[in-house]
């Protein structure tokens, strides 16, 4: 018991004051990109060619955050001339089209469906579905339950059964082998329900786009309400999106 108390004292209280107090991420973190459309077209083209995810549309000078894995290659390639990543982690969106961005995103709070706020604003229970992918998305979702983020203080919980849930939170590109289980789990959630696609995989197939063995876009099999980009999304990106969309 004494050891427990000693450790407790040493550990102290580590829960983040977010969202009351802002969080600053280290300057190497890559959040919302800043895009310079006036950059010379050769550089823009070179970035588009160098992008492993084919996420850059050179003609409109836009990046598809649903495909992007935030590898930073475009920034290096253009020496920051065309793309510069900011430390802004607020990247959740309600419409898939908004992910194709010139550097700004609509405020999520205004785009959320008002009845979702009324229904789930005080208490939101989610069933997580891990549908292939690399498990980093799951790991950084789990982190929300550690003392630092302490998700449950916001009345949001991940639950064991779809029957207890208000919606699903899906990660991974939905392998062919997880197709049936994903649909079955979704159907087991009572209506009205909400669907969240988290991470580049669930939005676009992520690193695995084009593989015969995946579906690659959750929205093509279940209508998605909230998109959280990243590979994986930083836990604070997820937390921000959940709070803005439902609170």
């Amino acid at each position: 018991m004494l050891k427990v108390l000693k450790n407790r004292l040493e550990q102290g209280n580590r829960t983040s004051k977010y969202p009351k107090v802002p969080i600053n991420l280290y300057n190497r973190y890559r959040g919302l990109p800043q895009i310079n459309p006036d950059c010379d077209s050769a550089t823009i083209k070179a970035c588009a060619t160098a992008c492993p995810q084919e996420a850059i549309d050179a003609s409109s000078c836009k990046i598809d955050l649903g495909k992007c894995v935030f590898c930073g290659q475009c920034e290096t390639q253009s020496k920051g001339e065309f793309v510069k990543f900011t430390q802004n982690f607020e990247m959740g969106v309600a419409n898939k089209n908004d992910l194709l961005t010139g550097g700004s995103l609509p405020a999520l709070a205004e785009h959320s469906k008002k009845h979702f706020k009324k229904l789930f604003g005080r208490s939101l229970q989610l069933r997580q579905i891990s549908a292939a992918g690399c498990n980093a998305c799951e790991a950084d979702t789990n982190v929300l339950n550690t003392p630092f983020f302490d998700l449950s203080r916001f009345g949001i919980q991940f639950v064991a059964s779809p029957r207890h849930a208000d919606g699903i939170h899906v990660t991974g590109p939905i392998s062919r082998n997880m197709h049936a289980a994903t649909i079955t789990t979704f159907e087991a959630v009572p209506s009205p329900k909400v669907v969240i696609a988290s991470g580049s995989c669930a939005i676009s197939g992520g690193p695995f786009y084009g593989s015969d063995d995946i579906i690659g876009d959750l929205n093509s099999i279940i209508p998605v309400d909230l998109y959280i980009p990243g590979c994986p999304p930083h836990p604070i990106t997820t937390l921000h999106a959940l709070l803005k969309y439902f609170k």
Binding site: K3, V4, K6, N7, E10, Q11, L25, Y26, R28, Y29, R30, A50, P52, Q53, V69, F70, C71, G72, Q73, T76, Q128, I129, S130, A131, A132, G133, C134, N135, A136, C137, E138, A139, D140, N142, V143, N145, T146, P147, F148, F158, A160, P173, S175, R176, N177, M178, A181, T185, C201, G206, P207, F208, G210, S211, D212, D213, I214, C231, P232, H234
Partner: protein, 502 residues
Amino acid sequence: MANLLQINNGETVQRSLIPHLAFADFRSELLTFANNGGQVVQFFGYEDDGVLKFLAVLRNEALFVVGCDEPESYQSLTTETEKFHMFEREIAEQYGVKPEGHPWLRMVRYHENYRGKEDVFGNDYKKEDIPGNYEYFPVEGDVIHEVAVGPVHAGIIEPGHFRFQCIGETVLHLEIQLGYQHRGIEKLLPSVPSVRRPIVIEGIAGDTAIGHSLCFSQAVESLASIKVDEGAKTIRVIALELERIANHVGDLGALSGDVAFNPPAAFFGRLRGEFLNLLLTLCGNRFGKSLVRPGGVTQVMGEEQKKIIRDKIRETRPELEHVCDLLFSEPTVRARFETTGTVPYEQAEKLGLVGYAGRASGLAYDARVAFPTECYADLTANTNEKAVGDVFCRANVRREEIMHSLDLIEKLVQKDGETANDPTFDYKLAPSSFVVSVNEGWRGEISHCILTDQDGAITRYKVKDPSFHNWTGLAMSLRNEGISDFPLCNKSFNLSYCGFDL
């Protein structure tokens, strides 16, 4: 062993130099090797001008490679040693070749084979969803019952199906069926442009992004004769060790949670985050994605990053020691950890367990020591005190490795010298060549093989995550255990579903 070619880790060899045996000789060569304490690093099929061939990479104190022409069906090697069990199933599924007499020939990942041959298991993947659709190991009797879990589990974890055959509370056998995460990675890798390969590789298993990208980068560097500077090697090793610490710390937290000892569960959970944040400090991603690339690393480690790492280690080391002490000295925890889920040495050897799971059972093998890459040859090795193969030992090995890794990183950040960051996507691979790269990822031995054709294009990319060996270890650890000890056994192994499913 006259018929085997000895090779070095990460060394490019001409394919024509690899002994190509008749199948009967190949078979007996492999069996002799495996029955004399040797282990299988890789054993896989590949197509060469429309002809199916086999290749095996073996290890004892050294690495060896040998190949053969494949008969359309063959006498299974598993009947004589367990070491080939999973490899033969994988080949059967990927190429439609039957190992006759295989004692448990079942699907691995549920997919069509690469050659359009008739499916060995009689499945038609065009018609229906097959996962989970097969006959599990049958156990019958009035007092026998089965517990079936998954594919979607209760927590935020990857999908898989676990079937426990129980008599009362005691588990007679646990059958683990995976494959739900199959994304077709081995098929994808040769077909995508070189800029995409590192991204796909980092998606093999996110918690091992550094380990797998290291194997990939070393293989490509060898085939393309790319030199990597010392500074980049240092950063790569620091990253690999940070990955190891973060995962071990997280698992100790999960183990605390599974015995309902909440304070250390919370403390370890928070501490894990500190190490993920150090990876972010190095490269902008908490899992180390985007850092390691053929040619070196994408970002340098300057004084600023070194200081952050040094300070964080100084701050967390005593905390880690104290929380470990809290967990490991608690009698009720020891009562749950000790003698639970034991995989004895002989069994571990037969199954070819790797990594901490192997070391906890007394198999000393550590790829960092046996086949050192990067700057591991200059670093001290870790040794483990107690190794009887139970949950306690698998947890304790983690504690010892965390402390060892902290030492290594502290030493490495003292090194002077800046790094050139010179990753490359524009390379030409040596034609008609073969390479295998082996590293000790946090779960154990990771290896990648690349075969190139006469134009230097990749004809076969073979990935092996340590989990490929160790899932069977988890199944064995459950025999005659109480079913309520499953979470403990499971967490003490903490295997990768996606790394296995590929």
